[in-house]
Amino acid sequence: MYTTDLRTAEEKAKAAKDEIKVAEEGMAEFQARIDRDEFIEPKDWMPEGYRKTLIRQMSQHAHSEIVGMHPEGNWVTRAPTLKRKLILIAKIQDEAGHGLYLYSAAETLGVSREELVRQLHAGEAKYSTIFNYPTMNWADVGAVGWLVDGAAITNQIPLCRCSYGPYARAMTRVCKEESFHQRQGYEALLEMMKGTDEQKKMVQDAFDRLFWPALMMFGPPDSDSAHSSQNMAWKIKRFSNDELRQRFVDATIPQAEFLGLKIPEQIKWNEETGHYDFGELDWDEFWDVVKGNGISNDDRMNARNEALEDGAWVREAAAAYAEKQRAKSKAA
């Protein structure tokens, strides 16, 4: 490495050409494996772009699970009955677990959880825009389960067949649990819709506020999605943002009707296409939230940073204790 390169210019040029050839062959072989629907595993060769994209997507997915505990956690102490409170706690525990599965899966790509968490706290990594909306009333908790977890499932089911093995396996576990969340959320709203006028009004209000942000969870429109086509070719993504969004709208509107909710006027059944038309979303709002200017962005990040800083001494204590135990067992 430190010696003078004694090769002739010709030899050097040939070596450089060989290197490019090897990289091209590697890329072709990699794409062939993807096309054969093989899973890519941690120790397999992969293009740097594939690794980077996956780290970005998986870590942001993990961050979303962690930050997503806050809007719901907001209602734990105020849940209206003990049963609903227990369900909510169990759900939030699941979200923590999903974060951990996803960080583990991301770590197989050679990045540490510590570094990923640092990126989140430094504002370098994003998390789902939806968690920057506040939970204003108890019905919001049900609506988050039904709409937000519902949108998440729509997104995540195709990810169970994502080309990267550890991600696909993590998503399989996550999807099983998310289904509980979505159903419990919907059931909570059904219950409220059987209740007083005031309860019904709360559900309608939650739906009106959270439906559009839930649609934005699928990401920017296909015409404006930076990573889309390469991610589809690599089978990290199986369907485009707009396809998944449409699928979610088609599934959700009948559920909203069953609840007895008033559907926004711009949503119309289209006999010809067999889908619901729902018009344009407010993409300015979306990008504003992505950039950190949503309603609750600051609250969420402050809460995360506070937990990290205030918990530092506990983590140090645990590490010191583990070290002491190790020393003791060595001495014995």
Binding site: A105, R113, H121, A319, A322
Partner: protein, 94 residues
């Protein structure tokens, strides 16, 4: 952030499972905490009845580039399979 702790790989034998199966990993300060975290994380829905955790750095994995050399022979050595051998019917089940 300090003290992110070690990564432990988690193996669980399910209620009717014959062997431990890799299910994922957890971070923990020591083995005991790893078991506790794994219990909370991977067996919330009674998925198992035995947990093994092992520091990820203790695991040595095979190299995919050597996959052919390592795993190839099984396929072209059919004589290793019991079905390769024809036994007359009269002999009965063997």
């Amino acid at each position: 952030m300090q003290n992110d702790w070690d990564l432990y790989e988690v193996f669980i034998r399910s209620k009717r499972g014959l062997s431990h199966k890799h299910v994922g990993s957890v971070h923990a300060a020591d083995g005991r905490m790893a078991i506790e975290n794994a219990r909370d994380l991977y067996t919330r829905r009674s998925e198992g009845e035995s947990i093994w955790v092992i520091p990820a750095k203790e695991i040595v994995a095979s190299d995919p580039a050597e996959g052919d050399a390592l795993f190839g022979p099984a396929q072209d050595k059919v004589y290793r399979h019991p079905t390769f051998y024809d036994i007359p019917k009269e002999v009965g089940k063997m």
